[in-house]
């Protein structure tokens, strides 16, 4: 674990003291199975996996457990009702300052898009800090390959069965995962000729 940023004034105790009460805004509504075929499909087959769902600013989101993520993604892609054949984007959110104690720290976010209905859908899978690993969806959308590598690089989440899990943006010998909320901003040593590391 990297030290907390001094300039931000964040220490682990500070973070605990901050105790951000995550309140659900009034605008958040649960998804309705009648309006959302995606939600209905998942509810039919993976009812036990659904943690929560919401409709916010016309964007449909479902939060699921990570165990059956590949099956859920495949279902959303292959079902003729939803047909999410395009993985628009994939990312991760580190909810360190945002979660309650019993929640998992990371959220893997899948932005799905359908070339048939031009609709968007967001699937989120919760991943805990202790077991920071989730199955890869490379078999569903091949383009997940690099997107998952980026998440591995930036958040340190491993993807099971990934074909090529290496760092992608940071140097191979980098220590830490920069987009985690407890990774310091700045404070990195500036490289001059006298202190440059031999990277090659």
């Amino acid at each position: 674990m990297v030290d907390f940023d001094v300039r931000l004034g964040l220490t682990p105790t500070d973070l605990q003291l901050r105790e951000i009460q995550v309140k659900r805004p009034d605008e958040w509504v649960e998804l309705n199975p009648d309006d959302s075929p995606e939600f209905r499909l998942i509810q039919q087959q993976f009812a036990g996996d659904i943690i929560t769902s919401r409709l916010f600013r016309d964007e449909k989101t479902i939060v699921v457990k990570k165990d059956n993520i590949v099956a859920i993604c495949r279902l959303l892609r292959d079902s003729s009702e939803t047909n999410y054949n395009y993985l628009s984007d994939m990312t991760c959110v580190d909810r360190l300052e945002f979660m309650s104690d019993d929640e998992d720290r990371f959220e893997i976010v899948y932005h799905l898009y359908s070339m048939g209905t031009f609709g968007r859908f967001r699937v989120k899978a919760r991943v805990s800090e202790d077991d920071a690993a989730i199955d890869t969806v490379e078999g569903v959308w091949p383009c997940a390959n690099w997107l998952e590598r980026e998440i591995y690089d930036m958040f340190g989440i491993r993807f099971n069965n990934h074909t090529d899990l290496r760092r992608i943006l940071m140097p191979d010998d980098w220590v830490g995962h920069p987009l985690r909320r407890d990774f310091p901003l700045g404070g990195e040593e500036v490289e001059f000729t006298h202190n440059v590391r031999d990277r090659h």
Partner: protein
């Protein structure tokens, strides 16, 4: 004497241990099919459009495997944005895909507006659209010039730069800055167009079709050009979707997906334009798609400049809009409010939003996760070039090494967009 020379040569050969990643070193491996040569291309190679590094395994001239290595331009823009207020983070969006700045501004602003539920006045919507189409033309012109330069048609570069410069002049006239304008901001635009801007814009639009015909005459039907580009870097429609391509790179394969048509934003539904699509999914088809897109962008501009609605260019919602200048002289509260907007910034509600626009390279999206504070808790930039580059090995493998350069040009990558 001769033996000493030979010894020295042998000694030099022994000392020379080829290592990948240091300039032009070459590694050779003998296999059953012949000699496989591993060549490192980039990150300082002029035809890689930035700092892309490709490690190419060659058998003779044939590419057996191509592996892109990226990250040489990674500056942690997403992390930086997380530590800025929403208004300040806007300036970062200019710097990522540095050839379509205003499109990035728009995507980010749309995400913030969605999060805060803000309506943008009609004049601002129209000006955003006009600026976006100018930006698309500028970006495609830069692509056309450099793509032709890669392939060996030097002349075009000088012509396309001339036109692009006229668009940069328009941006300078509007904002004082030639590239990183940050002119489109959450809530509308930073300011209205100065006097004479529309006259100058119209002059450009009037002259453009003639220029475009010139470019078409120079290359599009040129037999050398056609032969050079046809049939290389082929990717099928199914593969293109599966690999997440977007923009002209996807449409070259025959998939008519354009966010301007599919999910219209900022008033694109009001205008007549067509989505050009290719048939074969090769470099020439992607080239033709972009050439036709230039014409379609011009078509949109002709319609859009005709009747620009009047009114304010910034929303009246004081959550994001600073009070008008005149109010600051008389009202203490307005002065405080003005100060607070530019120091503390505004607080979107807890929630998340994703907004995407059709940038010159494809789907440019911003995902913002808000925790209710004045800084975005998490920003993810969806760079179209990232996915487009990922499919490069698929297009390049089995082709000749010289084609790799043409294929890189045809997917029109911007490394700032990939590495962020």
């Amino acid at each position: 004497m001769a033996t000493i020379e030979r010894d020295l040569q042998e000694q030099a050969q022994q000392q020379y241990t080829p290592k990948l990643g240091q300039g032009v070193d070459i590694e050779r491996v003998d296999t059953d099919d012949g000699e496989v040569m591993i060549v490192n291309m980039g990150p300082q190679h002029p035809s890689t459009h930035g700092v892309l590094r490709l490690v190419v395994e060659l058998n003779g001239e044939n590419v057996m495997k191509a592996t892109p290595h990226i990250g040489y331009l990674h500056t942690g823009l997403e992390k930086t944005m997380e530590n800025m207020t929403y208004y300040k983070a806007l300036t970062i969006t200019d710097r990522e895909d540095y050839l379509s700045n205003l499109m990035n501004n728009l995507a980010y602003s749309m995400a913030v507006e969605k999060l805060m539920d803000i309506e943008v006045p009609p004049r601002a919507q129209r000006l955003r659209l006009i600026l976006n189409e100018f930006e698309r033309i500028a970006s495609h012109l830069l692509w056309l010039g450099t793509h032709a330069l890669d392939i060996g048609a030097m002349t075009l570069f000088f012509y396309t730069w001339r036109e692009r410069d006229a668009i940069l002049d328009l941006k300078e006239m509007m904002s004082g800055v030639r590239m990183m304008t940050s002119w489109i901001c959450p809530g509308g635009l930073r300011g209205d167009m100065p006097e004479g801007w529309f006259y100058k814009a119209q002059k450009f639009v009037d002259a453009f079709p003639k220029r475009l015909d010139e470019y078409n005459r120079l290359v599009s039907k040129n037999p050398i050009w056609v032969e050079r580009l046809s049939g290389i870097g082929v990717i099928s429609a199914e593969d293109a979707i599966a690999w997440g391509l977007s923009g002209p790179s996807l449409r070259g394969s025959g998939v008519a997906w354009d966010i301007r048509k599919a999910n219209p934003y900022t008033g694109y539904e009001q205008f007549d334009f067509d989505i050009p699509v290719g048939k074969n999914g090769d470099v020439y088809d992607r080239f033709l798609c972009r050439m036709e897109e230039l014409r379609q962008s011009h078509r949109i501009l002709v319609q859009a400049l005709k009747d620009v609605p009047g009114g304010p260019v910034m929303t009246s919602d004081r959550k994001v809009a600073p009070p008008p200048r005149a109010e600051l002289d008389t009202s203490m509260e307005s002065l405080i409010h003005h100060f607070k907007i530019f120091t503390e910034g505004y607080h979107p509600p807890i929630g998340e939003a994703y907004a995407a626009v059709e940038s010159a390279r494809g789907e440019k999206g911003y995902y913002i996760y808000s925790d209710g504070s004045n800084k975005p808790y998490r920003v993810k930039i969806k760079g179209p070039s990232f996915n487009n580059l990922q499919a490069l090995p698929k297009m390049a493998e089995g082709r000749m090494i010289a084609d790799v350069v043409a294929i890189i040009g045809s997917i029109d990558i911007v490394l700032g967009d990939i590495d962020r």
